[in-house]
Symmetry: C2
Amino acid sequence: MAKELKDLTKRSDNYSQWYNDLVVKADLAEQSAVRGCMVIKPYGYAIWEKMQHELDRMFKETGHQNAYFPLLIPKSFLSREADHVEGFAKECAVVTHYRLKNAEDGSGVVVDPAARLEEELIIRPTSETIIWNTYRNWIHSYRDLPILINQWANVMRWEMRTRMFLRTAEFLWQEGHTAHATEEEAWAEARRMLDVYADFAENYMAVPVIKGVKSANERFAGALETLCIEAMMQDGKALQAGTSHFLGQNFAKAFDVTYVNKDNQPEYVWATSWGVSTRLMGALIMTHSDDNGLVLPPRLAPIQVVIIPIYKNDEQRSQIAEAVDPIVKELRQLGISVKFDDADNKRPGFKFADYELKGVPVRLAIGCRDIENGTVEVMRRDTLEKHQAPLQGIAQYCKDLLEDIQANIFKKALDHREELTRKVDTYEEFKQEIEKGGFILAHWDGTPETEERIKEETKATIRCIPFGGDETPGVCMVTGRPSARRVIFARNY
Amino acid sequence: MAKELKDLTKRSDNYSQWYNDLVVKADLAEQSAVRGCMVIKPYGYAIWEKMQHELDRMFKETGHQNAYFPLLIPKSFLSREADHVEGFAKECAVVTHYRLKNAEDGSGVVVDPAARLEEELIIRPTSETIIWNTYRNWIHSYRDLPILINQWANVMRWEMRTRMFLRTAEFLWQEGHTAHATEEEAWAEARRMLDVYADFAENYMAVPVIKGVKSANERFAGALETLCIEAMMQDGKALQAGTSHFLGQNFAKAFDVTYVNKDNQPEYVWATSWGVSTRLMGALIMTHSDDNGLVLPPRLAPIQVVIIPIYKNDEQRSQIAEAVDPIVKELRQLGISVKFDDADNKRPGFKFADYELKGVPVRLAIGCRDIENGTVEVMRRDTLEKHQAPLQGIAQYCKDLLEDIQANIFKKALDHREELTRKVDTYEEFKQEIEKGGFILAHWDGTPETEERIKEETKATIRCIPFGGDETPGVCMVTGRPSARRVIFARNY
């Protein structure tokens, strides 16, 4: 049984299959009856809730408030912003009717043709249009600015090829939408939220990220600039983990949102939007997990410490329960979520395998002999190392160990990224290197055409023009034209 | 300006208009560009978040976990349960296409006829069908039961007449969906969650509720029994604040969900579902608020105490700020959310009116003279009474006062309900009394036909057959047939 539980495809055999297996076997999510839509199962949702909790706190600490805007958007709103409609019209779910009726042949229900909407509604793929249509009535004077609003919501993009968490037709996310009096303020906001995302990714998810700006090809439809955080997965592919857009006055102009400035002159409002989604779950899984299952960063693990009793009879079982009780209490006092799994219908070996699969960071196994000796067996999930530790002070010991694990998996991911990041100077070398995966720092002439050609020939895109790093100018590896600096190329999820 | 802010319709002039005014003027919500869908503004959403927070804690304390199921439901799923489809097919949003394209005349985007779905999808009006279709694969043995899951989600019902919070096409809610091995267990669950809702309504919202069971006419489409909590609004109309359904084996049979029991025999699974929604916001507003604006129960108020400085110049302003600083800290240490509003661009009178409108439970106003005297002016929102209190120990004083307000508004609502609840024995008297509003306890013969007749003739429905209370049998006021006990009639929202 324990073996069966862990019957995961190995990463080295088929990384993609390993990911799909893991999502299902660790009870994170499963495919639903609706094409491209997943069911997020309780264990997966518990991780997402922890992410939401920390992000929500960070948003509020930076002055944002939550609100809620409608799920449905009038079709005509999409057309107001030229780039936006190009980007989103091709993949949206369209509501055309508002009623079903019984089929005349008794076969079930059919769409009632009499209940056709005058104007079709689309399920939001993102909410800039409906929100900026609303902001028009909220903003009159510079005194009404800034507006700093976030929304937790579901959105839908009718993707043709879907993968659980990474790319699903419906997904859960947050979308921040802010309005500002000046260009500078809007830029500062876009930059600030990118920093919040990077802070969250690195310090909670333990996922190292590179901050930068997207090339024009990869920009959000309707943005003047898209900032992003990019992470590297274990297979060397890139994953865009969050984006923050400087929208300029595009949506203000499209929805006629102006304010009267201090000199009593009307001006268009400046905007940003920024979002992260359940895609972060994919990033979390693919950064840390191994052939035994999930490896969760302690700060986002629903269960941080599991305690498993090893006993032969009821007497031993209750003796252990008695010894464990104060440990559980002490762990909880330290703010650690702990589970004492004394279920009698599963053997310890099964439990060990199950909690490894689920990525619980620390496992304590305790038998009567341990109690006599004043020790406990400790297993850390990140390295799978086992050792004995004294029962005395075990709660604080676990707390320190959790911090150590959090730091260790971040470092491991960072080392891996650095190992797989290298500079390349010729296009020939680039074509060889890109096959090996990882991030390639190369010179590029700054044109969409060259990027497009590289993408067609190598399937690699520019992940971002990083902030900082090596800013030495050079020449484009493809065209030989001048390049302002090296940018990051990779294949990506 | 202060006057304009409070320019609410009076309840006595037009209760319905007063409600609509208040929702908008207190910045809770507004109509959106999409028919029947509202925008929940930050202040309204902050109250909803506090409700969510408490309910979520209560659900978890009773053993439930959160999960997430798809927004869209295949049309055919609805037809599987006969009553369910009757109840929901007539008012659902139907997705028929998954793509838009540019109109040939350049006028914008149109539905792409080539992108028609093979089977239409509906936006969930409730999720029993998609969830029970999922549970089929999760449940095999009695060991897999119970399943205790809750979902926080948006749902859509294409209502023809909408009112903000009370009845909107899209609304936010939670829906619990549980699966059990036995009828007894499922019943106990339905009953337990009704108690959770009543606890929340009375102890957090300060809204007294009557627990009971619905008559067949008012039952959820697909349920064997619907339990409910019913509240009375200030105008004497009833509002159903939450429902908990015993679904029997209806959905298990419709979606073929069986488990193998301890005797190795297959059995259908037993089900419950239960939900509360943003409708609770309507109940909250209409139970406590007055002609000056919102009155919020302290336990759900985003700001519990507001402190307003009264000053003539910058020197006084900073002197007051210095004196207030330790009070703010002490209040926060007591877990009280406090706002010190020293904004210089609004006069105290404006601020007073604004925080009254927003329902902040306690207002402290403090000037230099107060500091010298060691006093502060305290205003409690529920009674609008002002008095002086010593600055010394003011934080604890506020804490006690908040508890007193919480208890007082509950008692006021309870007294009001009791005043407007009376027994009636003849149908003639009933017709007169129902015009005056309130709850009427009357005998009914237990048939849908009689209830339907009463509804047609008086617009009153049976709100519930209450648990407990006067259980003396009698005769139906309409038909003279035997009645098991008095039930509660009212007109309702």
